[in-house]
Structures are given as structure tokens and as C-alpha cells.
Amino acid sequence: MQAALRIEDLTKHYKKGLREKIVALRGLSLEVHQGEILGLVGPNGAGKSTTIKIIMNLLFPTKGRVEIMGINARSPKAREHLGYLPENPSFYDHLTGEEFLLFTGRLLGMEGNEGREKAWELLRMVRLEDAGRMAIRKYSKGMAQRLGIAQALMGDPRIVVMDEPMSGLDPIGRAEVSQLILSLKKQEKTIFFSSHILHDVEAICDRVGILVEGRLTYLGTPSRIVSTPTWLLKIEGDYRGILREKGLTHATMVGRITQVEIQEDELWEVMDAVRGCNLPIYSLEKRRCSLEEIFAKEVGSETAG
């Protein structure tokens, strides 16, 4: 099956002054399959928006290429398959919501009633039917975001690309956008979006990519990351020195307790060593890493590396 979106060895340098350059992306490669939701997460400056802007042909890659349904993203033809929601979408705000969608429809070659019908269908879908004839400048942030999603869907695209669709929204707004994204999946749309709100990604994505300093450090299912179990060993007293000798360099003190995280495959080996030293074990708990922790770990290891 053809990938909906294929990114190959994408590299992007920004010029800073005459000699300096900033590397925003370092050989990013990934594929988004048809009908899946893939979320790209990473801290600010990781290269998420750069990736999305290259997909939308707003920025040009220094190296590498992007294909949309097998078509080079540089071609306007590729954008026939794409709907795009920019971060903090900005509209021609003297227009009403309906007028803006009609304008979007005309840009996509829709004529007369076809555009009007689609506009109202989408306004109903994003629950803006009552505000359809209101000037966009009077919209709240959440309403503007929903209108942004509606305009992205005007041409019935197969792939919807969203840059931080939940940023700046309150919890209700975020839940609404999440529901909208899930409803798009039911319509067999492919969704590719960026976010730094990991909880939202974890909840709605089929796959997650973690981008750190322009490099993809993880690509897989959120459940795979979340369900990877680790163990938390607590020992009464300060035994960091002994643990360090046993190779557990990341032991920390919380109050009077020494805490150390152990991977499942290392558990018995570590426990034998701890018992061998007769350390006063306080507790041993099985725990699951949240996406936040994985993310922080990825950022940490990248920075250290």
C-alpha cells in the first residue's frame, strides 16, 4: 500500500548571519500510512513546524524530499490531497466564517452551490453553524481553531496536516479538537500533526514520532512506549555510592530514601546484587512510563549525547 506521506532524509539549515547556520532537521525520514493518525512530538525548536512547513511547500528542504500520495510536495498537484491547519491560524478577519470557507472553496476550484453546501456541512461538523455569518474577528480562539480545521477540510483532502492544533486551547477546546481529529479518522483521513501536549498525542495517535533537535528519536505506537514496564526500587538510607559501584549511576535521593529505576530485563541481576550487599529494601514497585517521561528521557539523552 502506498504511503500517504513519505519523508526521506529531510535536512533543513537556516542561515544565521553570513557564516552561521542553524540545523533544524537532520535527515528525518518517516512514512505516514493511509488512514492513520501520526503525532510528531518534541520540545520547542525540535523541528516540528519546519517539517510541516516543508510538507506544505512553505519552506524548502536543504536536502531530502517529501512525497504526498507519491507526488513531490513541491508540485501544486500534491496539495490537492492536503488540508492544512497552521499553528495559530490567521484569517482575513473582516470575512464571516461562511465567506472564508467559500473563499477557500474558490481557491480549490469549487463553484456556486457546491462550495456553499460544503461550507455549511463543515460549519455544522465543527459546530459553528450559529457563528457562520459572524465576522471572524469576533471568534474566540477555540472557534477560530475549529474554523481552521473546517477550511483544511474544504476540498475533502485525503491527508490533513495540523501544526499544534491544540495549542492555546482550554481543556474543553482541546477535547473538542481531539474528538474532531478522531472523527476524521473514521472518515478514513490520514492525519499528521505536531504537538507538545503529550497527553493529547498519547490519547489519539496510532503512532508517535519523537523529534529532538531535528532527529527522530522514536517512532512507534504510544502504547508500546507506555506499556514498557520499569521497576522502581526504594532503599532506606543513602546507598547511592554502593549502587553506583553496581553500575546503577542514576540513583537519586528523595528524602531519606534512595530511589533507582530498573529496566525489566535487568531486574533480577540488580536485585541479586542489592540482596548480596544486604541493603534495607523499602519497596519495589512495577510502574509504566508515561509519554512525558519517555519524552524527557529522549530529550535528556540527546542533549547529553
Binding site: 512553505l58 501544486p76 498537484k77 492544512y84 491560524p89 490567521s90 482575513y92 474558490r106 480549490l108
Partner: protein, 271 residues
Amino acid sequence: MKPRAEIALAWVTLKEGMRERAFMGIMTFALLLLIASGVIADLSIGNILKVTQDLGLSAVSFTGLLLAFFMGTHLIAKDLDKRSIYMVLSKPMGRGSYIAGKYGGLVALVGLSLAFITLFMLVATFYFYKTSRLYFPPQIAWGKLVLASIFIFLEASLILALSVFFSSFASSPLLALFLTLAVYLVGESTHQVSEILHSPLGQRTSPVLKALAMGAFYIFPDLSLLDLKAAAVHNLPLPPLRLMKTALYAICYILALLILATFIFKKREMK
């Protein structure tokens, strides 16, 4: 293939421009200028009708220039600054279509405004013509007045093309405005400079300076060719062939600027 996307963008640009405060300010100023020109003409010692026409056409020209300078750079800069351009460029249309649509909307905005101001000027002139107490009221060349306004529109369209061209790469609207203004000032004076260089006075000019001035004459638009105000007010002959050549010159210059703007804008990154 119908240019639907370009027309849609032009329409939105026109509507957006009409709601701009700067536009309303310029139009109010133009109308006040026209009313004031009637009062000034009434107080003048000379021929009231000639003064009315002269001041009226100057008001039309001034309005055209103000609109071209400010709306041209402002509306594109606003798109880039507010990033509403993302919504447009993410659709399956080329960057050239964006330039064409935006320019089309700006030309429509300036064209409609100038048509309105010209109509106001013609009505004012007609009023003074009917109420003048001159023994020998001069014949008013109505057609030439309209023609002069059309050429003012052509000049404004050329300045709009300049502002679109500079906006296609300038990092700030102020820079685009400054560059447009600079080219306008050079374009207004190249003809006179060329005449001086071809006069006996020009024989004494250094060859390097002469070559530079002539280079500027060929590169920059000769805007004085588009100024028919004096000919219209004084009812001087306007050979049709000369008018056609001048109009063609302006249109070719505009097309060249828009093609260049498209070429540059295609390479511009939307950071």
C-alpha cells in the same frame, strides 16, 4: 482554465482593502481636497475652470499615488505578517497565482477609487462650468480629462506593480515602501535628466555620469510619459499613436515586474 483562484484572491483583497482605515482616510482626504480645490478655484484670479480642472486632476493623481504606495505594500505585508498567507499558499495554487490575485485586487481597489474620485471631479467641473460668469467660458475637453485620469490609473498600477515586486523579497513593509518611493522619484525625473543630457548642457557632463544617467533612464520607468494633466487642462493635442505606445510601455513594464516578482516569490521561504 479559468483563473478562479486568482479572482477569488483579488475579490478578498479588494474587500479587505476597502475596510482598511488607511483606505478610508485617503478617500476622505481626497474628497476634502476636491472640495477645497473648488473653494480655492473660486478665490483665484485666473480662469476658475482651468484651476478647478488642474486641482481636480492633481487630487485624482495624489489619491492614486497614496493608495498605490500604502495599500500596495501594506496588504501584502499584512498577509505575511499575520501569516494568513499560509492558508492561501497551502492550497493547490502556484506562487504566481498569489501574486496575480493580490495584484488584481489592488488594481481593482485603486481603479474603483480613482473612478469615484474622477466622477466627483467631473461633476465639480461641470458645476463650475454651468455656474461660471465668464464671458467666454473655455471649451472643456471632457474626453481628455477622463483620458488623463485613465493614465493616472496606469501610473498607479505601475507603482502597485513596483510595490508588489519589492514586497516579494523585502523583509519589512517599510523597506518595500522606501524602495517603491525611491523608484518613483527616479522615474519622475529620468525624462528630464535625459533631455538635459541631450541638450548642449549635456556635452559638458562626464561620460561616466552620462552613461549612468542613461542606464537609469532605460532601467527605471519613465513616469512623466504617463502625466497627461497639463495636456488635458489646456486642451493640447494628444496623438492616439503616442497614447497607445505609452499605455503599451506601462503594461509591458507592469508585466515584467510581476513576472520578476513571481520568480523571486517562488524562492521565498515562509518562515
